[in-house]
Symmetry: C2
Subunit: 333 residues, 2 copies
C-alpha cells in the first residue's frame, strides 16, 4: 500500500462506533501506516485492533493503547470522537458538562504529550464547544484545531437532491455555517442545483417556500432521523468525514465542506463555529461567508447561540473566563 | 472518484453490522458507483443509505430497496451477509437450519432475478454450507460462487507475527484450508516468517511445539475472542475481506487469501471449502494445496466434517440429496 505520510495519527475513542470506523477508514484511505488507536476501555479497543489485524492490511503498523501519554507522544495528527454517550436520566447539562470536562483533559493531554501536533480534529458533541475547550487548554495555534461541522452541509446537499430528484453531486456548494442542527445557518446563496442558483429557485413552483422549509427541517432533523432508523447515532458518516479532514491536513485531497474553526474577527469573537474553511498542511483557514442579509442575520443568531453555550460552560467552571484564556493559550489574544 | 466498473453490485443484508460496513467499504474502494443496498428490514436499511449520502461521496449512485427482485435484477456482482443472528435459546441446529433456508431462498432469487451474475460472495455462517446451498439453488456455474474463508488465514498471519514479534506482513503465505475454526486445516508448509520457512521453525526454541499449538488455538478462537472483547461478533474484518473478494472478481487487485470454492476433484466431492484459490474476472479457480502428509490428513479430516454438516442439511430437507443436484443446477454433475 502507498501511504500519504509516515507521520503518527492517533485516533482517540477508537473502541467506539465512530472511532473504530475511523480506524478502518484511515487505513483504507491510505493516510499513514503509523496509526495509534487509543481508548480508555481496553478490551473493546483490543477487539478493534484485532479486527484490523484480521483484515490483513499490507504495510500497516497499527498500535493501540489505553495509556494517553503513550497514545499522544509523537502524534502529528489526532482525531477524537472520545466523548461520553448520553445515558438514561442524564440532562442536556450533564452531558454538556461531562463532555466539556473530557475536552479540557484532552486539551491538557495534548499540551503535555504532543505540543507539536500538526492538526487535531474534534468530533464529539457539542463539537464546536468541545473543540473550543480543547483549543484553549492545548495551547495550540488556532489553525491546528478544527471540528467536524460538515454533516449539516452534506445533509443539505442530500435533501436538495432528493427534492429535485437528481444525483446528489448535481447539487454543488451546499453550505451551512455557524452551529449545528436547530442553530445552523443555511446559506442558499452559495448553492447550485443542476447548475442553477438555488436562490433563484426558492419561492418558485420548483421549490416553494414551504418545500424549502421542509428541506431545511429534514436537514436539521438529519441526525435524529438516523437514530430513529438505525436505533443508534450516526457513526459511519461522522467517521468518514472527519478522516477526510485529517487527509486534507496531511496534504491530501482538499476537504470539500465547512469545518468548525476558531473565529475572532468581524464581530465573531472567541468562538468556534463553522465558517467557509480550507484545510491544508498549515492547518485550517477561514473566511466569513458572503450571503444575503437574511443569511448573515442567521449566522449572527447562530453565533449568539454558541456564545450562550460557551458562557454556560464558563459558568460551570470547566472553561475559564475569556480574559484568562491567553494565560492558558498565548495564541488566543 | 474513479470506479473500477459501472456494473451493479448488490449488497444483501446491508442494514446489518457487516452489511453496512460492506457498503462503505465498497464505496471507499471505488468498486462501482452503482451499488444497491438490500435488506428486508427497511428502516435500518434507509438509515445506512442516509449515512452514506451524508458522507458526500462524489459520483456515487447508491440505491436501496427491501424488494429482492429489484435488488437483484441486473446485478453483476452480489455479496451477502444476510444470515440470521443466533438468538437466545437457539440451538446450533436451529441456527444451521435457519441460515440454510435463507441460503436456499437466496439461491432461488439469484436464479430468478440475476442468472447472469458474474460473481457471488457468501459470507453468512456457516459460509461453506450456505455458499454450497446458494450454488445448488442458483443454477450458477461453480466458478461464480465463493465464500469468505480468509479470516482463519489472516488470524494465523497475525498470531505468528505476534509470537515472533515482527510486523504482520513479515509473515507470508499464511494459509488455512478446508473448514473454519476447530475444523480448519492449518498449513505450515506454505508459510514463511521473516523469509524463513515456518516448517523449519516448529519444534525449535523459536517456536516450540507447545507454542505452535498455542498459536493455532488462538487462530481457532479468533472469532470467539472478538465477541469477548467487543461484545459483538466481528464485522469490520469480514466486511472488508469479502469486498476485497468482489474487487478481485471485478478485475481489480488480486485477492491474497484462500476463498471457499465448490470442489469436486481428487476425493473432495460435492462440497464447498477453502482451497488455494484465485479470483479473477472469470470467477474463482482452485487447486488442491500441496502439504505434508499430516497437513493433507488434516485437510481430509476437515473435508469429512463439512461432509457431515452438508449431510445434516440434506437430512433436514433443506438441500436435496446429491443425486438430485444436477436437476437444480446442471453445472453440478
Amino acid at each position: 500500500m502507498n501511504f500519504l505520510t509516515n507521520d503518527k495519527l492517533t485516533i482517540v475513542g477508537a473502541a467506539g462506533m465512530i472511532g473504530s470506523n475511523m480506524v478502518q477508514t484511515a487505513i483504507m484511505m491510505g493516510l499513514t501506516p503509523n496509526i495509534c488507536a487509543y481508548d480508555p476501555y481496553a478490551p473493546a479497543l483490543e477487539g478493534v485492533a484485532e479486527e484490523m489485524c484480521h483484515s490483513g492490511f499490507e504495510g500497516l503498523r497499527l498500535t493501540y493503547t489505553s495509556d494517553i501519554a503513550e497514545a499522544l507522544s509523537g502524534a502529528r495528527y489526532v482525531v477524537s470522537s472520545g466523548g461520553a454517550a448520553r445515558k438514561a436520566g442524564m440532562t442536556r447539562e450533564d452531558l454538556l458538562k461531562g463532555n466539556a470536562e473530557i475536552a479540557a483533559q484532552f486539551g491538557k493531554d495534548i499540551r503535555a504529550y504532543c505540543p507539536d501536533v500538526r492538526h487535531v480534529v474534534v468530533v464529539f458533541n457539542p463539537a464546536d464547544i468541545t473543540g473550543l475547550i480543547t483549543l484553549v487548554y492545548s495551547g495550540l495555534e488556532p489553525s491546528r484545531v478544527s471540528t467536524l461541522a460538515a454533516l449539516d452541509s452534506t445533509r443539505l446537499q442530500r435533501e436538495l437532491a432528493r427534492h429535485f430528484g437528481i444525483a446528489q453531486d448535481g447539487v454543488t456548494g451546499a453550505r451551512t455555517y455557524g452551529g449545528h442542527g436547530e442553530q445552523m445557518a443555511v446559506f442558499a446563496s452559495t448553492t447550485e442545483v443542476g447548475g442553477k442558483p438555488l436562490a433563484g429557485l426558492i419561492g418558485t413552483p420548483a421549490l416553494t417556500g414551504e418545500a424549502w422549509d421542509e428541506v431545511r427541517q429534514r436537514v436539521i432533523q438529519g441526525g435524529k432521523r438516523i437514530i430513529e432508523l438505525r436505533g443508534r447515532s450516526s457513526f459511519q458518516s461522522p467517521a468518514y468525514l472527519s478522516v477526510e479532514m485529517i487527509r486534507a491536513a496531511m496534504g491530501g485531497a482538499p476537504f470539500r465542506w465547512p469545518a468548525g474553526v476558531y473565529v475572532s474577527r468581524d464581530g465573531f469573537d472567541h468562538i468556534m463555529m463553522a465558517m467557509e474553511t480550507k484545510i491544508d498542511k498549515d492547518g485550517v483557514h477561514y473566511k466569513v461567508p458572503h450571503g444575503t442579509a437574511d443569511e448573515i442575520a442567521a449566522l449572527r443568531a447562530s453565533y449568539g447561540h454558541l456564545v450562550r453555550l460557551r458562557d454556560e460552560v464558563i459558568a460551570m467552571g470547566v472553561l475559564p473566563p475569556i480574559a484568562e484564556w491567553p494565560r492558558l493559550n498565548p495564541h488566543l489574544k
